[in-house]
């Protein structure tokens, strides 16, 4: 009997462990916490954080392009899994754009996430002594890179909400700035680009980080400054400030040469990367999954136009929800095809646009560069402003097809009513509502 008692007593220390009831405190076991970078930011950390900007600037980009492409009647998005691409975006019957549905909220959130990622890095740079890790020039270069990105990301959101405006001042998440009007927003974006430009200008010869292939040729502070000006040229055009367009173009990588020179979003099949969101293999097209080109795109084109290579002839019609077409999008030809952020073809067209009222001859010669590249002869139409505007929009339509411009161009020239309606009761939307959760 005693033995048993002793044996029982042996068990007790096991349970005494209970009494020492301190509980271990865990940090986030799965992810790096933001607070980890608030002290001792090193070069490796900065590389990772900049890598995050490259990543998040591509998140839900496909939805943004589909929003612009579908409303701009460049193509329809057929998917058997989500009816809203062919209903809400096309304004089918009573459908309207919802302020809390993915097509409104997701690209908006993702762009502001990039802005937040950038603002956090700017905060890390401002709030600690990094002299041991980085030179002042490197810090300037980083700031310039980030401010340029902030300006670009804000522009994409303003493209969606247009007259509804955006918030420009979002650095303090607990004290957000107000929504500002379109013009204020465009000027605010220019201000980001301007500070970015001056930081890049004093940014030395190297970024303290590497960039993806899409930035090749523009991966130093000096060359990235040209990208900054290219974006500023686009913004100035949206403001109708054509003298600013020309001066920014002058400082950008604009040339009458290689149309594809520029900066690009890269994609890959790596598991933590994103594949090109606009690519669907044409051969795999079905009514359940396709980007079907709005038929007028081919019908309106010159048959010799090389840019018709951006669409693929299926031979048979695809039909969904009362929409039919036999061409599908072929602008991007693989899961890792890159998507331009801004490229020289757009800059040439901006150059043509900025000269319409002042130097129509320059406009025509710039347009002819575009036409020649597309295998077309020189422009032979009238050179009054209205005709040149028509021709400009026509060239923009084919040159920048499926790059997110058509809808925005027709809107800024007040021509949304010229976009084709494919079903009775469809609408062309001017702008997206402000997302519900902005509480406006």
């Amino acid at each position: 009997m005693k033995n048993i008692l002793i044996r029982i007593l042996y068990c007790i220390p096991f349970f005494v462990g209970l009494v020492s009831c301190e509980v271990e405190e865990y940090s986030d076991l799965n992810n790096a916490e933001v607070s980890a970078f608030e002290n001792d930011l090193n070069r490796g950390d900065l590389q990772d954080l900049i890598g995050g900007i490259l990543y998040s600037s591509r998140v839900d980009l496909g939805i943004y392009y589909d929003d612009c492409g579908v409303i701009g009647r460049e193509y329809y998005r057929f998917t058997s899994s989500d009816p809203r691409y062919t209903a809400d975006l096309l304004g089918k019957e009573n459908s309207t754009l919802d302020n809390n549905t993915f097509y409104t909220t997701r690209p908006w959130e993702a762009r502001y996430r990039t802005v937040k990622n950038a603002n956090l890095i700017l905060g890390f740079l401002d709030n600690q002594d990094l002299s041991g890790q980085f030179t002042n020039q490197e810090i300037n270069a980083t700031r310039g890179f980030l401010q340029t990105f902030i300006g670009y990301e804000l522009l994409l959101n303003l493209n969606m909400t247009y007259d509804n405006g955006i918030r420009i001042d979002v650095a303090d998440e607990n004290d957000l700035g107000p929504f500002v009007s379109r013009d204020q927003a465009l000027n605010g974006i220019l201000a980001f680009l301007d500070s970015g430009a001056s930081n890049l200008a004093s940014g030395g010869s190297q970024f303290p980080f590497v960039l993806s292939n899409g930035f090749s040729g523009f991966n130093t502070p000096g060359s990235f400054l040209q990208v900054n000006h290219a974006i500023a040229a686009r913004v100035s055009a949206y403001l109708g400030d054509y003298s600013a367009v020309l001066s920014h173009l002058n400082n950008s990588f604009f040339s009458l040469g290689n149309l594809n020179e520029g900066v690009y979003y890269n994609f890959s099949e790596d598991q933590t990367d994103i594949v090109n969101p606009l690519f669907l293999a044409p051969e795999g097209s079905s009514a359940g999954q396709a980007r079907v080109v709005q038929p007028d795109f081919v019908a309106d084109a010159d048959t010799d136009d090389l840019r018709l290579g951006k669409v693929f002839d299926l031979g048979d019609d695809l039909t969904l929800d009362g929409l039919t077409g036999n061409y599908v999008l072929n602008r991007y030809t693989g899961t890792n095809a890159s998507i331009p952020m801004i490229r020289n073809e757009e800059l040439i067209l901006l150059y043509a646009e900025a000269n319409i009222s002042t130097n129509p001859g320059t406009t025509v010669s710039a347009l002819n560069v575009i036409r020649a590249a597309a295998g077309l002869g020189d422009y032979s139409g009238p050179t009054d402003s209205a005709s040149l505007e028509d021709e400009l929009l026509n060239q923009r339509r084919y040159s920048l097809f499926a790059e997110g411009h058509r809808w925005i161009d027709m809107r800024r020239f007040g021509r949304l009513d010229e976009l084709p309606l494919d079903r009775d009761g469809d609408d062309v939307w001017t702008q997206f509502p402000i997302p519900l959760t902005e509480n406006q």
Partner: protein, 991 residues
């Protein structure tokens, strides 16, 4: 007043009273049960005296009584007491009846102790083995809870084999936190997670709307073998579960597995064989040439005519969902032992095929439970369980890639040819990115579990005297499992072909190791006053550890037909670790005044690594009072009133912040080979507090006519404070959501249970039970902006959290929006729910059926819309939705898209025959001549699950959830795996 001493007389079994009484009359006999088996170690008492004995291993007993005639009372755990008047010294044969009520007499409510049901101040539901498996073998343990007690909403997420259920007790207990009860099996905290298999990489389900899990995984309580369970107690809310502290807000389900009975070793073998089939297929649209022309154009008409004329129109829904899945459940158990050591061991093998080819569920469960009494003051018990299960769940639910079988079917027309040719090559689907027959035949989606659950308890009587005793209880438990998920999408699939833009094959392998263990020590002190007042004091310490590590490897671009993740062009790894440590103590004092007044007060203190401050103690108090008016002597012995109890209970319990809610972090990604970290779109809060549930319940238990009629009614009101919300943040902050404590939620409800035995005779007995449950919830306080949540946005119907409204209201766009811009279209909360249980026995024939009626409660049903858009809905041309009577239903639903969500919000009421069983039992008397009479009983019968289903819901089953079990926003449907009914033939033999 009943003789309560009897209840305690089983103690005599442990304490051998030497019978040193002067020899007067020696009586002997044996004790049998109603199955003709002997009952060992039963108590035999001479009524009115303390003279007693127990029967031996063979049920034989001897007792000396002072004089004749004498009345002997017989009792044993699990049997109703019986009395016998003895007038002579001839051998006696006493019989004891097995009794469900007798089993219910004790309810386990505390960590260390139990309480007599008649003294319980809470409405604790107890479910016996008979109720769990007696009518029909349930598919999973949680599947056996439907309709059996008031206060629970049990809902299957889909019909995929292998489970996937949610159990919600007393309404909405949390919006973002855990809503599933805590399961404790023989003292072991058992994990009930649903771990996703990573199918999103193919389905892209999270791409178009919600980021919630739509992989449709099973939940791990499905591993537990229902046949092993002796009883199950359901503590529905904080008032009963406060002693479980910070994990108990969603309720606690305490499961006790079968223990060995001393005596002759008993064997049971049972075999159930049958099939499963879809309860409801929708059928094909009624196509005509004109309709085909209108919807699909001229080319399709030619295809339609040629297929029709050559008889090649195929009902693909039936082709995919029309299988009869074979079911086999084999169970073998044995139990026995002596007065020192008892054991129960069971082995079960389930093999079930689903209604879709290639789906199925296989499970093997082995159990050994041993109880050992080392000395008269120390006993140990050990329960151990090994489980292997494998579930093939197919590829269903929402997607954004047209790849799941359900979505593919929506685009399939009867004249499409999807069958493989003679070389086994599947044609590409003409209208969709995947061929559902090819997907069904080639895709693997398997979950495999190896699980070990072991628990041990030691009871040490430190001190014992006539009026007081002190007991130490030590308990430890371990739940360890390895879960493998394997999803393989081979490269020959239509949507994996490179030429179709596919990834050239995808393999997703997940491996999860989960280890929970818990340790606890309790001291229980009983002290009785001579007047009959009893004080029970308990104190204890508990410690729980949880550790889970999931590694999910996703490989695309597979080499040849390899499925290894290294034989691939691209491989990605995702690791998720979850660790938690909890530590707590509790003290409780229970005062029982002659069974008339039973009062309990207690407090639990808990700390956890899951709280913002890991070492801060959170306290959860409780108090309760039960008043047994029938014990006060108002009624005489022969009154019709057997019980009249009034009870009230209050308690608090917690619910931890969701995992990771404390942190604001980055996640790692890459861009063309460059690593980067980008913010996770949810902002955490380091100071987040646990949710606190406060529940007050009161009620009454009545019974009349020798307990042939009993009624129990409970009203409860529970509030959840510090509600943890993943509230929308202005997205321009860079975050979409933030975790905050920002509100309160209230649930009020009524539970009524009525049990009656309208007829009872030797040959015929009818038992009837009905239960009723109604709950309403309201967001009583909300300190953030109202927000929409769940489902797919307001266009299609979504949930909305708004002060003053039900927590589960469904809103959407509509013609008459309220001031918030939305119109309320429904509520997921049912108006009420009822269960009806009938059991009819005629001689050896028994018929039982269980009906469940859910009235009201709405779903967001998007399956119909997806078929409408493809022109394939079964009711496309029926005209009963359009108020103007113009448009067919298909066209009408599509026309509503973007203008009103009304048509997508559907009433999900149903009435079902959940269980039905018809059995014939051959007892030992009838089997006397066979095998020398060694067979005690044979039971044969037929049973079924969900055999009759009545609902007016436009899909397979109103019981569905695209987003799995957790959260309260579950009734959303997107082309699920259809649910099924089961037919089983059962054979069981005891020997």
């Amino acid at each position: 007043m009943k003789n309560n001493n009897l209840k305690f007389n089983f103690l005599l079994f442990f304490i051998f009273f030497p019978l040193i009484v002067s020899a007067q009359v020696m009586l002997s006999g044996k004790i049998m049960n109603d199955k003709g088996e002997t009952v060992p170690f039963a108590n035999v008492i001479e009524k009115g005296t303390s003279n007693g004995t127990t029967s031996d291993v063979n049920g034989q007993f001897k007792i000396e009584v002072s004089s004749l005639p004498a009345t002997l009372t017989f009792s044993s755990i699990g049997y109703s007491d019986s009395e016998q008047l003895v007038t002579n010294a001839n051998p006696i044969t006493a019989s004891l009846k097995e009794s469900v009520e007798a089993l219910e007499e004790i309810v386990i409510t505390g960590l260390a102790t139990s309480v007599k049901r008649s003294n319980s101040a809470n409405a604790v539901a107890s479910i016996s083995a008979e109720e769990i498996t007696g009518t029909t073998p349930p598919p999973t343990l949680d599947g056996a809870l439907y309709g059996k007690f008031p206060g629970a909403i049990v809902s299957a997420n889909s019909g995929a084999p292998g489970g996937g259920l949610s159990v919600k007790l007393r309404g909405a207990t949390s919006i973002f936190g855990n809503t599933q009860p805590l399961y404790i099996i023989d003292g072991v905290y058992v994990d009930n997670s649903s771990i996703a298999a990573g199918l999103n990489v193919v389905s892209a389900a999270a791409a178009g709307g919600s980021a919630s899990n739509q992989d449709n995984p099973s939940n791990r309580i499905a591993d537990i073998n229902p046949q092993d369970i002796e009883s199950l107690e359901v503590l529905k809310g904080a008032s009963a579960a406060a002693i479980y502290g910070s994990r108990a807000a969603a309720g606690v389900i305490i499961i006790t597995t079968k223990k060995g009975k001393a005596g002759e070793t008993k064997f049971n073998f049972s075999q159930s064989t049958g099939w499963t089939e879809a309860i409801n297929l929708l059928g094909v649209r009624d196509y005509t040439e004109q309709r085909v022309l209108d919807t699909f154009g001229e080319d399709a008409v030619l295809d339609f005519i040629s297929a029709r004329d050559s008889g090649r129109l195929v009902d693909y829904e039936k082709e995919v969902y029309g299988e009869k899945g074979f079911i086999s459940i084999t169970n073998f158990s044995m139990s026995g032992g002596n007065d020192k050591t008892r054991f129960y061991s069971g082995a079960t093998h389930n093999n079930e095929n689903g209604i879709v080819k290639g789906t199925g569920y296989e499970k093997t469960s082995l159990r050994l439970n041993v109880d050992h009494r080392a000395t008269d003051f120390f006993k140990v018990s050990l329960s151990s369980n090994y489980i292997y299960s494998s579930a093939d769940r197919g590829f269903f639910n929402n997607d954004n890639s047209g790849t799941t079988i359900g979505i593919a079917l929506t685009a399939t027309r009867p004249w499409d040819n999807l069958y493989p040719n003679s070389d086994g090559i599947y044609p590409d689907h003409p209208n969709n990115s995947s061929n559902p027959l090819q997907t069904r035949d080639l895709v693997t989606n398997n979950e495999k579990v190896n699980r070990f659950i072991v628990g041990g308890t030691g009871n040490l009587d430190i001190y014992k005297s006539d009026n007081s005793n002190l007991e130490l209880i030590l308990r430890g438990g371990l739940d360890f499992y390895g879960l493998q998920t394997r999803a393989l999408f081979p490269k020959e699939l239509q949507f994996q072909k490179l030429s179709n833009g596919g990834l050239n094959g995808v393999a997703v392998q997940g491996d999860t190791q989960n280890k929970n263990y818990n340790l606890s020590a309790f001291l229980v002190h009983n002290y009785s006053l001579d007047g009959g007042t009893n004080f029970r004091t308990q104190a204890g310490l508990t410690r729980e550890y949880f550790d889970r590590n999931t590694i999910l490897i996703t490989a695309s671009g597979l080499v040849a037909s390899e499925s290894n993740t290294d034989q691939a062009a691209n491989t990605g790894v995702d690791q998720t670790r979850q660790k938690q440590q909890d530590s707590g103590f509790f003290v409780q004092e229970e005062v029982n005044f002659n069974d008339m007044l039973i009062a309990t007060v207690g407090v639990r203190g808990d700390k956890s690594s899951n709280n913002g401050d890991a070492n801060e103690l959170y306290y959860y108090p409780k108090a309760s009072l039960a008043v047994n008016l029938h014990e006060f002597g108002f009624w005489n012995e022969n009154s019709k009133w057997d019980q009249f109890k009034l009870r009230a209970a209050y308690g608090e319990a917690g619910n931890f912040p969701p995992f990771g809610a404390l942190f604001t972090s980055y996640d790692a990604y890459s861009t063309d080979g460059i690593l980067g970290i980008s913010l996770i779109n949810i902002r955490g809060d380091q100071n987040l507090k646990s949710e606190r549930q406060k529940e007050l319940e009161f009620g009454t238990d009545l019974s009349f006519f020798n307990n042939r009629l009993s009624l129990s009614g409970t009203y409860y009101k529970k509030t959840v404070d510090d509600l943890i919300l993943r509230a929308a943040l202005e997205p321009s902050t860079g975050y979409r959501d933030q975790f905050v404590n920002a509100g309160s939620l209230e649930n009020k409800g009524i539970e009524i249970g009525l049990n009656t035995t309208p007829f009872m005779s030797e040959d015929f007995q009818w038992d009837f039970g009905v239960n009723y449950f109604k709950n309403t919830s309201e967001i009583t306080e909300l300190n953030v902006e109202p927000f929409n949540i769940g489902a797919f946005g307001a266009t299609l119907g979504t949930f909305r959290i708004e002060e003053g409204s039900s927590a589960t209201q469904i809103v959407g766009i509509g013609p008459n929006p309220g001031p918030n811009g939305f119109q309320v279209w429904g509520d997921a909360e049912p108006d009420f729910q009822m269960g009806f249980n009938n059991s009819i026995r005629y001689k050896q024939l028994q018929f039982t059926m269980l009906w469940q009626w859910k009235k009201g409660g709405d779903n967001v049903n998007l399956s119909a819309l997806l078929t409408d858009l493809n022109g394939t809905s079964h009711d496309y041309d029926t005209i009963d939705l359009d108020p103007s009577g113009q448009l067919g239903n298909g066209a009408y639903r599509v026309s509503q898209l973007g203008s009103s969500a009304e048509v997508f919000v559907e009433d999900a009421s149903y009435l079902r025959m959940r269980e039905m069983g018809l059995y014939y039992t051959f007892d030992s008397k009838m089997l006397g001549g066979i095998l020398g009479g060694t067979i005690d009983a044979i039971r044969i019968g037929f049973s079924g699950t969900n055999l009759i289903n009545i609902f007016d819901y436009n899909s397979y089953d109103p019981e569905v959830s695209n987003f799995g079990a957790n959260g309260i926003f579950t009734g959303v449907e997107v082309t699920p795996f259809p649910s099924s009914k089961r037919y089983l033939f059962n054979f069981s033999v005891n020997f």
